[in-house]
Amino acid sequence: MAEKHKIIVYALSTCPYCKRTKRFLDAHKVVYEHVDVDLLDDSKQDEVLDKVEKLTGRKSFPVVIVGTEIIVGHDEQKLKKALNI
């Protein structure tokens, strides 16, 4: 199980696919940190958006980071593979 790595989810609080990703992780009892980017204050939001854009080349959510692996969008197959579940 890849939970030795820190798992971070960048999401929008209103995005249905972000919710599905969180639900999927919860259902598999995966421990993760999450950041609802749209709820951050302006300066923090800019900082996180820059980071997401640098990591993925776009500002699209959800973004799941598992160690060195980056998964953009809700993709259960990729999540299972990255998390070895």
Binding site: T14, P16, K19
Partner: protein, 136 residues
């Protein structure tokens, strides 16, 4: 009435003007043919304007997206309910029904967003957030 004198109604959702149809009058309830919003029309000093019916309610956004899908011949799938919940969240937090999958809270991303009104579903098979789908 000549074509140069055709009256138009301003829609406060898509910020466009659509043609006034025969039989409409002050207080008529009409559907904006561009975004699907239900409007009560009235004449102001600047011309005909539409007022949003049930503004800010779940009924308003459901009527709008259902109306838009009907006008364009689009369909929904099982993500619709999650997206409606996201749209309600946008209204509560950011003041209007902006696309739940975008960061920008500007009029052009009021659902159905401008790219969707401009033909994104025909091009990509679906809109940005996957609410509206082209019929298979």
């Amino acid at each position: 009435m000549s074509s140069s004198q055709v009256e138009r109604i301003y829609c406060p959702v898509c910020l466009a003007k659509f043609k006034f149809s025969e039989g409409w009058s002050e207080g008529s309830v009409v559907v904006c043919p561009i975004c699907g919003e239900r409007l009560t029309i009235s004449k102001s000093a600047d011309g005909w304007v539409g007022d949003r019916i049930d503004k800010g309610t779940e009924k308003e956004i459901r009527d709008r997206i259902d109306g838009f899908a009907e006008i364009r011949g689009y369909v929904f799938n099982d993500v619709k309910e999650d997206i409606v919940e996201g749209l309600m969240g946008k209204y509560k937090r950011f003041g209007d029904f902006y696309c739940p999958c975008r960061m920008e809270h500007v009029p052009e991303y009021q659902c159905p967003c401008k790219p969707t009104r401009g033909g994104d579903v025909e091009k990509n098979g679906k809109c940005h957030c996957g609410l509206f789908w082209k019929k298979a």
